[in-house]
């Protein structure tokens, strides 16, 4: 998942400090010196004990991208301990990883960050010999456009952006242009993401989602400003609650968020817009700084197992790149057009590109202008 960027960044325990904290916590006012010393030593010993034990793997992933028992099963099967933490946006993760000594072994960047990470020398080459489950991937993900030989990454989950709506909304939204319909005034939200909003405007104008020239972007900006009076708010996942409750009729949404809402309220549905839509793919990579390449490969291989990936889809309601896993899903889920659209729908999709620096700055300025309008 690529953009949930409100939280800034996420990303062993100093024995001495651990001991010192115990000291402060354990000693009251009337503590005689030798007791304090004893507590200190006990603290240090305790922590020293913790430091030994099973081998460790540090995994940094998007939130809600594993099933409740995925990690636990891996830990018990391979006899390791996994430190698993989550982040909300690529920038969060990159801020930590860019330094080159973040401590993480496996992270999950979105596809358009792979190239930059390679250029910064952050990624380790993958050893396909240690990834025998690779053929489980869908054919199109075995040679993805961003890494045709899968030298550095393994596709994990993918998704698209489209329109989530309440079926009572009239007319039924089917294209980006429908988001400018004055009948939805006050009950419409867009994603709080400059790339997505400007992208939707570009697609509405029948331009490419990845346009970088000034003229196109300026036209898109004007569309966004024209739309603003109709909007209730710019919301990412927060619209979900309100859509289920009925406050919001139509929302610019990621497919997986929409699916989560539909699970709770069957009157909701999701549409892949007629003019086209952006696609993103999140991939597993091994960081070059990691000294645990073996374990990292074992973990990625484990995630590629069909039953494991299928279980994750059931919980996270995301679309997996694992073809074998899709075959294991119950009929209803496999045919779920929100998560797994038909081939002809998919053909209208466009992979999000990497943006050059100058365009990034222009887009950001436009975003401020749109928000201040």
């Amino acid at each position: 998942m690529n953009r949930m960027h409100r939280g800034a960044a996420n990303l062993g325990r100093s024995r001495l400090l651990g001991g010192r904290s115990r000291l402060k916590a354990g000693c009251g006012q009337n503590c005689p010196p030798h007791t304090c010393r004893r507590t200190f030593l006990m603290g240090v010993a305790g922590l020293a004990g913790c430091a030994r034990g099973r081998p460790r793997l540090n995994v940094y992933n998007w939130s809600n991208y594993v099933a409740p028992d995925t990690i636990a099963n891996f830990e018990s099967e391979f006899g390791v301990r996994v430190r698993y933490a989550t982040y909300e946006s690529n920038e969060e993760m990159l801020a930590k990883v860019l330094s080159g000594n973040s401590g993480w072994d496996v992270v999950f960047p979105t596809h358009n960050r792979i190239q930059p990470m390679r250029q910064y020398g952050l990624l380790a080459r993958l050893d396909h010999g240690r990834l025998p489950n690779l053929p489980n991937l869908e054919p199109r993900f075995q040679t993805p456009p961003w890494d045709p030989r899968l030298e550095y990454c393994v596709p994990y989950m993918w998704g698209a952006t489209g329109i989530a709506y309440n079926q009572s909304a009239a007319p039924t939204p089917a294209a980006w242009a429908d988001l400018w319909n004055a009948r939805f005034k006050g009950r419409l939200t867009m994603l709080d993401d400059p790339e997505e909003v400007l992208g939707a405007c570009l697609l509405k104008l029948r331009l490419s989602y990845n346009s970088t020239d000034d003229t196109s972007l300026r036209r898109a900006e004007r569309e966004a400003i024209a739309q603003k009076p109709l909007l209730r708010a710019y919301l990412n996942a927060e619209f979900r609650d309100q859509m289920v409750a009925g406050d919001i009729l139509v929302a610019h949404s990621w497919a997986t968020t929409a699916q989560q809402a539909i699970d709770a309220a069957p009157q909701l549905a999701f549409a892949y817009p007629a003019e086209g839509f952006p696609l993103y793919g999140d991939n597993a990579v091994v960081l070059r700084e990691s000294g645990r390449a073996d374990l990292a490969h074992a973990f990625i291989n484990y995630l590629l197992r069909a039953p494991v990936a299928a279980a994750i889809v059931q919980t996270s309601r995301t679309a997996t790149a694992n073809g074998a896993a899709q075959a294991l899903l119950p009929e209803a889920q496999r045919r779920n057009t929100t998560l797994f659209p038909s081939a002809e729908t998919l053909a209208r999709g466009q992979w999000i590109g990497t943006m050059p620096s100058a365009t990034q700055r222009l887009r950001d300025r436009m975003w401020t202008e749109i928000k201040s309008a």
């Binding site: 800034a8 062993g12 325990r13 651990g18 916590a25 996942a237 927060e238 409750a245």
Partner: protein
């Protein structure tokens, strides 16, 4: 006047605690969304299966306690020293540390740690989080204590000196006890600010030092799961109980 004040205070407390009440109610909701669908304890059960939560809570407590002790001590001494004779440089720095947006503080501290770690071969961890928390909470402590000192007359200390005490004794036995309520208030402020901090902590936390806000934020941003409501309700009950107990102990 006192009665009006009482009514007013009740209204403000209602304002402050209403969201908490909402949280508590929905922690018993069987649905994930804020539409009531029936009573259920499933979210409370889920807490006990979540190892991350437990570790996060433990880390938060350690960090908050340590950082508060350090910053309250340093801040009190600083406020007192500045009261004796001011220092434009130090005061200015304290103000500026308050003004700095959290994300800027986080990024700059991260950069500092990453640079210094090249030579010291350290990693990010609990210690970096504690240092960061001290960094931003000292100013709060100093400001609260300084405000309290404004109302304190130096004459008392002078009297102590006249009676033969050293400067240190005058501080220790005359000023410090008088400052105690202010110190407690400042420490409470520092503790709260530290326990609840997300932005700065998330930037300087290492692989092993996830705090409770980090765990909660991660859960909330992606899916406002009522497990968070359940945790929050438990936290409130726990600290509320702690407060009541400490009251009893103090009175005894």
């Amino acid at each position: 006047m006192k009665r009006w004040l009482g009514f007013y205070a009740a209204a403000v407390y209602l304002f402050l605690h209403l969201p908490l009440a909402i949280l508590a109610v929905f922690s018993f909701n069987s649905s994930r969304f804020t539409v009531w669908q029936g009573f259920s304890l499933r979210w409370y059960r889920a807490i006990f299966h979540d190892q991350q939560l437990g570790e996060g809570a433990w880390n938060s407590v350690i960090i908050a306690l340590t950082a508060t002790i350090i910053s309250t001590a340093a801040g009190t001494l600083c406020a007192y020293g500045l009261w004796k004779r001011g220092s434009k440089l130090l005061s200015g720095s304290l103000y500026l540390s308050l003004v700095t947006p959290e994300i800027v503080m986080g990024i700059s501290l991260l950069a500092l740690f990453q640079w210094s770690f090249r030579w010291l071969h350290w990693r990010l961890g609990l210690h970096t989080v504690i240092l960061a928390h001290v960094a931003f909470s000292i100013a709060y402590v100093v400001i609260v204590i300084a405000a309290r000192l404004r109302t304190f007359s130096p004459a008392l200390e002078e009297a102590a000196l006249d009676l033969g005490a050293t400067e240190w004794q005058a501080f220790r036995y005359v000023t410090l006890p008088a400052l105690l309520p202010g110190i407690v208030a400042a420490a409470l402020l520092a503790l709260t600010v530290s326990f609840d901090d997300y932005v700065i902590t998330s930037m300087v936390a290492g692989v092993d030092s996830e705090t409770l806000p980090m765990v909660i934020y991660a859960m909330a941003r992606r899916g406002a799961s009522p497990v968070i409501n359940a945790i929050s309700a438990l936290i409130v009950v726990f600290f509320g109980a702690l407060v009541l107990i400490s009251e009893r102990v103090q009175k005894a």
